[in-house]
Every structure is written in C-alpha cells, then in structure tokens.
Amino acid sequence: MTADSLDPVIHAPARLRIVATLAALPDGASLSFTRLQDMLDLTPGNLITHLRKLEDAGYLESETTGNGRASRTSIALTGHGRAALDTYTDALRDLLGGL
C-alpha cells in the first residue's frame, strides 16, 4: 500500500483536522462555523474552501439559518463522511504498519 491509496479529499492537513474535529462530536450533532473556525484557527476563506471540497464529496452537510448578521451556519459530518474517515484511518494504519 502507498500514500496514493489514501483518500485525497481527507488527506490534506486542514481537511483532516476538519473531519477529525467533527467526528469527535456526539452522533447527530453539528458545529457552528465560528466555533469550528476558532478551534482550527483557519481564516474564513480557507475554511470555506475546504468545507466546499468536503461537502462536494458528500462528507459534510451544512445548514444556514437566519439572514444577514444573524445568520448561523452549522456543519455536521455525514454517515458517508464518518465511514470515509474510518477507511482513511484504517488505510493509514496499514500503511504505517507496512513502513
């Protein structure tokens, strides 16, 4: 097994941290954009870019409520995303076991 076998959507520092952080939430819970940004210390633009990539892959879902300044965006890992992280973790473990 080589590093190429790792899911490229997750295998990037910022996206790995996003997915791992959301996976630590209880089942069914979501996290606000601002708390996630605080925890990961990313700029809003960077975070949005990575979230879009993860959302496009079906790993995340986001929901925005309210309008303007009062709007709030919540982000949650989907079942597909949780499974992808598990697969990524297993692949990483196999890879490191083989190194």
Partner: protein, 225 residues
Amino acid sequence: MQGTQDVDQTTGAGDGDGLDPREAARLLAHTEREAQRQFNLSPVWITVLMGAVLFVAYGALWLSTRGQHPYSGPRLGVVGLVYAAVAVAIAASVKVYRRATAGVSGPSVRRQQVEGVAILVSFVLGSPVLQGAMKHYHASDAIVYGVIPAAAPLIIVGTTVLGIAASKGDRAQFGAALVVVIAGVVAAFVGPSGAWLAAGIGLFIAMAGYAAADGRQRRRASLRA
C-alpha cells in the same frame, strides 16, 4: 456556507501533496485529542476537584456534629460553607458545560439539557420535601437535620443519574451513580453525624472513580482511532 470570502483562500487550501503518512497520523491523533478535550463535559481535573470540595464540605458537617447528644445539627457557619461549596461546584459545571457545548447543536445537546433539568429538579425537591414531611410528623432533629439531608439527596439524585446512565449505556457514569446511591443507603443507617461522613466519602469515591473510568474510556477510544 458563510457569505464572506478571504483573499487568501487558495493559499494553504490544498492539498495533501507531500503530506507524510506519519505526519498525517500525528495530526489526526492530536486533532482528535484536542477536539475531545474541548467537547468534554466532565474533564478529569474538575470532576476530582468537585469530589474533593464536596468531601471537605461534608467532612466539615461531620466534624461540626460529631459527639452531639442529643443531635442539634451543624453550626450555621458550616452550613454556609456547604452551600458555598455546592454553589462553586454548580458554577464550575455550568462553565464547563457552556464552553464544551458552545456552537454545538443537535439532539445530543437537547438531551443533555433535559438530563440537567431532571438532576436539578431531583436535587432541589427531593430532600426538602422529605425533610418537610418528617418535620410535619414530628420526627426528631437527628432525622430531619441529620439523616435525611445527608442521605436523601444521594439516593434521589443518584437514582436519577443511574437511570440516565442506563439509558445511554454509560458504564462509567452508571458505576459512579451506583456508588452514590450505596453511599446514601449507608448514610441512612450510620446515625445523623456519621451520615455526613459516609456521604462525603461516597461522593469523593464516586467522582474520583468516574474521572478515572471516563479518562480510561477516552484513552481507549483514542487508541482505537
């Protein structure tokens, strides 16, 4: 997503080219640990600290009533100390809860809120109602101001938490609640002064044990990941 865009959104947005698998594993483990720490509702240090504070408070009640014949209850200053200790414990719990759940939404948070209300109601209503009933039926001061306030909250709140833990399948919480209930039962039969000591020891063992078991569960989960 948010409507704002940063100018630097492309820098650092990429990609795992060159991300070493070992570095990825380290990053994953570190992020999981940090996230679990931030979302943790019962950090080990605060659980142990609360157990110690309650032990000191109940120990003071025991010292204040030891050797009383007939039993007349703890001194007012000691009662004030206990109320202060309980207030500090509640304030610390609320602060930790708020920090852990900031920005988190979903069914789990609503469930935790309902659980919190159930525990608060059982704590606030349980003992005073029983004390009032005992006083109404002319029970002795040893019962009304000794055995009941020491033992009843542990049995009532402990049983409430026992049910909550059973419904979640949380073994660490279940074990701690069971110790609290057993301490309450013991407190009910060791006399009005000894009841305070039994309650304090039971609470400390339950909280220290919970902190150890919960920490072990989290470490195991972290190692599995």
